[in-house]
Symmetry: C2
Amino acid sequence: MPLSTPVPAAEYEACPVTDVLRRLSDKWTLLVLTLLGQRPYHYNELHRAIEGISRRMLTRTLRVLETDGLVAREVFPTVPPTVEYRLTPLGVSFLGPIGAVAQWAVAHGDEITAARRRGGLTPAASRGD
Amino acid sequence: MPLSTPVPAAEYEACPVTDVLRRLSDKWTLLVLTLLGQRPYHYNELHRAIEGISRRMLTRTLRVLETDGLVAREVFPTVPPTVEYRLTPLGVSFLGPIGAVAQWAVAHGDEITAARRRGGLTPAASRGD
DNA sequence: CGGCATCCAGTTCGATACTG
DNA sequence: CAGTATCGAACTGGATGCCG
C-alpha cells in the first residue's frame, strides 16, 4: 500500500558508515567540527566564524554533534550566560578520518573538475560513437 | 534585500571537501562505490545487489559518479544491450579515504549509539543539574 | 548571549509508467 | 537489459520573531 504507508522514513540505519556519512554532510557539520578541532568556541563565536550559517542550523548542528557525543557543551552561569562548545575525545578521534577524505578531496579536486568538464552535460550521451 | 534575493542556491562550492562529502552522502553513492570496489557490475546486477534502490536513483548515482570520473561506464553492443560499470583509478584511489571513515564508524559506532541513548530526547535539557 | 518555534522555498528521493 | 520522464511525498535549510 504505497498510498498510505506510515513509514517513518529514517528507519533504515543501513550501515553505521552511511549513517555517519549522512551526518557529516549536512552542510555545516564538517565546518563546525573543523573549527572546534582548533579550539573551543562560544555559540556566537561560531556563528560569526561561519558567517553563512543561520542560528537555527548552527543550533541543530551542535545538537546533533552533542547527541552523538562528538561535541561537549558547557554552560557558564554568568550573566549574560555563556556557553562553550568543544570537541570530546571521540570528536577528536574523528579528525583523522575526516582529514583523510579532506586530503583526498584537495589532492584530486582538479581531476574531478576536469572530469566534469569533459562529461559536461551529456555524460552518458555520445557514448555509442 | 532578503526579500527578493534570487540566490540560485547551489552556488556555494564552499570547499572541495564539503563538496565531496555531500556527494558521497546522497544515500547510495557510498554503497555503489563499495560494491564496484569489489568487481565490475552490470546495471541490473547493481540493482539487485542494493535492492532497496530505485532504478531512478541508481541511474542518477551512477551518472554523478561517472561525471566526476570515479566510475567508468562501458556499453557492450550485444542484444539485449549490456552495460558494465567499474571503478576508475580515481575511484579506486578513493576507497582508501572512505575506508578510514568506514573503519572509524565501525569502531566507534557503539560509542555514538551509547551517547545518543544518554542524550536521548533531551540533549540540552537537564544540563544545569 | 544563547536558543527555540514557526513558516516557507528548494532539493531529494521513491513509485510508477513508458522507450529502445 | 538498460534506461528515461513525470509526479508527489519527505526532508533540508534559511528567514524571522519570541523567550530566558
